[in-house]
Symmetry: C2
Subunit: 347 residues, 2 copies
């Protein structure tokens, strides 16, 4: 199937073309950037929204994703899902299980679920994930869910490719939120305390609220009215644009396995999107993401250029004896190679 | 403190100089590659051995590390430890806790333990980890332990920087070894079933043995004699160089919290090192690692060169409107920038 055929297939909404396109991009096969260039012209028009869902293993992200799919389908929207697990093959097994569980959803032609391997993601997993999300958008899905397990740097980068990011926590999330790095808490636009019927849900919610208050220079942040178990159960979180056009991230309570609080999550996502539109952040962030994508593509192109320059490897092979016996360092040789590649052949 | 002062301080074995050197390298501050160049000339002479310890969260790697420190100290050897957690800030909390637990060990001047953050590791966490290990070797530690949590791609890359890699598993490692990606099992030189007094230890050990047998084209791999609970308890694993100079990875049983099986692990590490020496792999792998280091340094240098070329960002800024409205793609602009940087200024 040529790139042109794949592009046509995407336009005709053929699932086989989509699957093929994703494999091409995921494995960075010949022509994948040409495909993405074609696709790029079709983006940002249909009002597709990208939603990131992240959190520690066991937070119930997959169940939450399933429930969101149901809600969006009930609204008549098509949903594409990229599930990424960069952390561990140990949890990879769980993801695969979830995927099988979700398969009932994927019998619906307006739902497409793809698990992504992390191997060979030259130029970064976040870039590849965003590129797969591009394909899902170009295919015509109105909602693209990006699910990542774990909340390390890689996952944060992946989550940042979405317009709205949901951080799912559960009462048993280890030692509470103290163990969360600052960066993790800052990425989320919406906090979800899932499995909120379990002991400790109320305490976790308070901790998140206090943490958000501290971040915003207001240690109390109207926490009081939300302390009641009822508020936790009902999942009534505030989310309004506060003074200065800032977004005040709501802390919602859900029991995804029963569907509790999921409608509220969808409503919060709608409010967040509206906030992004009205504040001008939607356009600004999109530009920023496109600039980042260009830098990533540049880094990849540079990498490929150096890899294809046979003189680099030749010089390295010639110098390796001296590096091994300590006469030269890897850094000296790297500088020498760069110098040669730069001055050698300006085409 | 100038680079020269730090180098002198390392030679005089001043802990403050070591701490300073590590911070410099970890944060890639000005002159860090010059420091590493200095250090490089001193490496590979004192017989320092690098040992990687990896495995899923909860496998007891830190306790195992603690026990190894004790064993090596009893042999009169100095021990440097780099603990890396690239997976998640959720387990990051645990690592920090472990570090405090280990502090008793670090009152000993011949033990140095460093937890490494994963932020800002341009050129890859594995490279930075190996560079920190270089500093520990240059400081004169005879054993350098590299501990990583999780077994994703990043952790594998980190583990590969060591000469011997230990994969620690526990009976409750999720769904058993089926969930392990092929690459994970292949990196280990020594397998440790830790917490081997727990239910399921025997079964896990059998699974690992069978998997190793399949890998070596021998589905049975003399599994039978090791099935007995006794063998598991005692941690008697074979590890001998089999035909063709191949290493036959032993599967050991430990209860690190009680110190059981740790002496056997040290013995297996000794046998593995001897195998590497006698088979010529030690020299070959060292050359391979140095080649990889040079490539990593080159990638970093290229990255920096492009980042410092103001024309790249200028052109990106000029093209961003067209990228945003779909007339150009990020990939077209990346190609254009590369072209300009390459042809523009061959110095």
């Amino acid at each position: 199937m040529s790139i042109e055929h794949i592009v046509e297939g995407l336009e005709r909404r053929e699932p086989a073309a989509l699957a093929r396109a994703i494999s091409l991009v995921e494995n960075q096969r010949d022509g994948f950037e040409r495909l993405l260039s074609h696709v790029h012209a079709r983006l940002g028009q249909g009002g597709t929204r990208r939603i990131g869902i992240t959190g520690p293993p066991g937070a119930g992200k997959s169940t939450l994703t399933e429930r969101l799919i149901q809600q969006f389908r009930a609204q008549g929207l098509g949903v594409g899902v990229v599930a990424v697990d960069p952390t561990s093959p140990f949890t990879g097994g769980a993801l695969l299980g979830d995927r099988i569980r979700m398969e009932s959803a994927s019998l619906d032609p307006r739902v497409f679920i793809r698990s992504m391997a992390t191997r060979g993601a030259h130029g970064g997993l976040a870039t590849t994930t965003a590129e797969v999300a591009d394909l899902l958008e170009a295919f015509g899905f109105e909602r693209v869910l990006i699910e990542t397990v774990g909340v390390g740097q890689t996952e944060l980068d992946v989550a940042r490719t979405a317009e709205s990011t949901v951080l799912a926590l559960v009462p048993e999330s280890g030692d509470g939120i103290q163990t969360l790095k600052a960066g993790v808490m800052e990425i989320a636009d919406i906090y979800v305390i899932n499995k909120s019927d379990r002991p400790g849900a109320d305490k976790l919610r308070q901790e998140v609220e206090v943490m958000l208050g501290i971040r915003r220079g207001n240690a109390f942040r109207h926490v009081a009215p939300h302390h009641t178990p009822e508020a936790v159960k009902g999942g009534r979180g505030r989310s309004r644009a506060v003074e200065g056009g800032e977004w005040d991230p709501p802390v919602l309570a859900t029991i995804a396995s029963q569907g509790d609080g999921v409608a509220e999550l969808v409503a919060a996502l709608d409010r967040h999107y509206l906030h992004l539109q009205q504040s001008g952040k939607l356009v600004a962030r999109r530009r920023q993401r496109l600039a980042e994508r260009t830098r990533a593509a540049l880094a990849r192109a540079v990498h490929q250029w150096i890899a294809e320059d046979t003189r680099a490897e030749e010089l390295l092979a010639r110098r390796l004896d001296e590096v091994a016996d300590g006469r030269r360092s890897p850094y000296d040789v790297a500088a020498e190679i760069l110098d040669q590649v730069r001055t050698g052949a300006p085409r």
